[in-house]
């Protein structure tokens, strides 16, 4: 079993394991709402639109966390503002903002250096997580999980029945904005792990796999976190022993879990139909 412990002798690997434990949990638990509320496209967009923020922060020597956070908050409010009067549908607003912001990021990169320097932002660089990053990830994890716990009944009700929640004075749009805010925070941590392009893989894939295996929201959140963290760990070992890109290995392991969950779901349904 030495192969399991070997990587942990290095502090950067210990940091990476700790980071993916927190990031996987945050993204996957929040991802359950993203999947159930059919917000996968927003999750994807949030990752991409962080790019200009990340690039600008990097070029000016700030922590890329804050750059990503500012860009994601602007996206969240931008989507809400563009689609507020139904003249532009929400998915259209997302499509426009997402590509526009990403292009701004690519443009700034092309003006400065080669793409090679920025590959960590695009595809993640979990092995380079610093002590400060760990602190920020821990803070965001705490905030996201605490807010989800405090507002669980409201988030659940506005997801399942927004018109009833409006009748009792609970505004579904406020809960949605809260969710977008949490999504912006979680995405920023996801970028640290797998980069702007793959963040939605941490938000959507584990939760989607979990949704195939359980019909209970709480269990779905737990299972989704387990799947996300385990794909993170497997991905890290693969990158250690096989020299794979860590981000890609994490995303692919998550995708493999999804395929397995899909097969189990399919077989269970066939079995039930026969029984």
């Amino acid at each position: 079993m030495n192969w399991l412990v070997d990587p942990l002798h290095y502090s950067f690997m210990r940091s990476a394991f700790l980071a993916i434990l927190m990031i996987g949990t945050t993204c996957a638990v929040l991802g359950s709402y993203v999947v159930l509320r059919r917000m996968a496209f927003i999750g994807d967009a949030m990752g991409h639109t962080a790019l200009p923020g990340v690039v600008v922060a990097y070029l000016n020597g700030y922590n890329i966390f804050f750059g990503a956070l500012v860009a994601d908050l602007l996206t969240a409010f931008g989507i809400g503002w563009l689609s507020r009067r139904e003249a532009v549908r929400e998915d259209t607003a997302i499509g426009v903002l997402f590509t526009g912001m990403f292009a701004v990021g690519v443009l700034i990169i092309s003006l400065h250096r080669s793409f090679r320097d920025f590959s960590g932002m695009l595809f993640g660089d979990i092995l380079a997580v610093t002590h400060t990053d760990l602190m920020l990830i821990a803070a965001i994890t705490a905030i996201v999980l605490l807010v989800l716990a405090l507002f669980h009944k409201e988030l659940e009700l506005t997801s399942v029945d927004p018109s009833y929640s409006a009748v009792i004075g609970l505004r579904a749009d406020w809960m949605r904005n809260l969710l977008l805010l949490l999504l912006a925070l979680a995405t920023v941590t996801g970028i640290e792990a797998v980069g702007v392009i793959f963040t939605s893989a941490l938000l959507v894939t584990p939760a989607a796999a979990a949704s195939l295996l359980t019909r209970n929201l709480f269990r779905m959140m737990i299972l989704s976190a387990v799947l996300a963290v385990s794909s993170g760990f497997v991905g890290l070992y693969l990158s250690w022993y096989k020299n794979f890109n860590a981000g890609a290995a994490i995303v692919l392991t998550g995708a493999a879990w999804f395929v397995i969950a899909f097969v189990i779901h399919h077989l269970a349904q066939r079995f039930r139909r026969r029984a």
Binding site: V167, I168, L217
Partner: protein
Amino acid sequence: MTAQLEKTSAPARHYPRIPYSRHRHGPPSPNTPALECTDVSVRYARGDRPAVQGVTLAVPQGSRVALVGANGAGKSTLLKAAAGLLPLSAGTIRVHGSPPGGCCHRVAYLAQRGDLDWRFPMTVRRLVLTGRYVHLGWFRRAGREDLAIVERVLDLLQISDLADRRIGELSGGQQQRTLLARAMAQDADMLLLDEPMNAVDAQTRQVVRDVLRTLSKAGKTIVAATHDTHEIHVDFDEVIHLSCGCTDHAGSIEDVRLVHPRSGLKASVSENA
């Protein structure tokens, strides 16, 4: 049953409650109608004509009123406006003397079944429990008395055996009973019901009728939009006809009187309608 609900739903509260609505839960005004619409018009953002136009009516507390009319006559729109879900383009609505949404806990609204995401992973019991949320407000969890109320309404609507089933596995009639159970769990003074009998089985129909009668005996006001005119004068005290968004010019008052000669209800049409 309802007396029991009231008894259990008002325990001593020692810590502050933060209601969802910015309107606090004020005391009821005893002499106001449960629902009062004055020259109400509602226009949807993309509609070329108002869905409801110039409707004036008053529903006394404790009465049972049916809104009837063809599809698109404005029944659902009027109920949604009264529930505070749609803004008015003209006129005023008063619910127990307050504007719509001004006393959320006192009005329960049963939407058409399509408004809900039935695929969401949630059990019947949990969905019925959401009817208690208006009394809990932010940050408070459901207590023992809330759970007891839920069990009692599940029993009343004969869906106790479905309590742990997922809402996505219910038949249409079971879905309707679940939604009515939630409306009852809210323990409201007025129930706005949108097509409660639409496409449900005979058993559900009977259960719903029995429950509405029980509620009415307990002094609750019931306003229901319905297609179903079968035995309508047994189930309701008053019938209001809507057509093309107006209370029917030619027939409404006559019809109301025909169906129910002792009609004390005012249904009128604005001049320009």
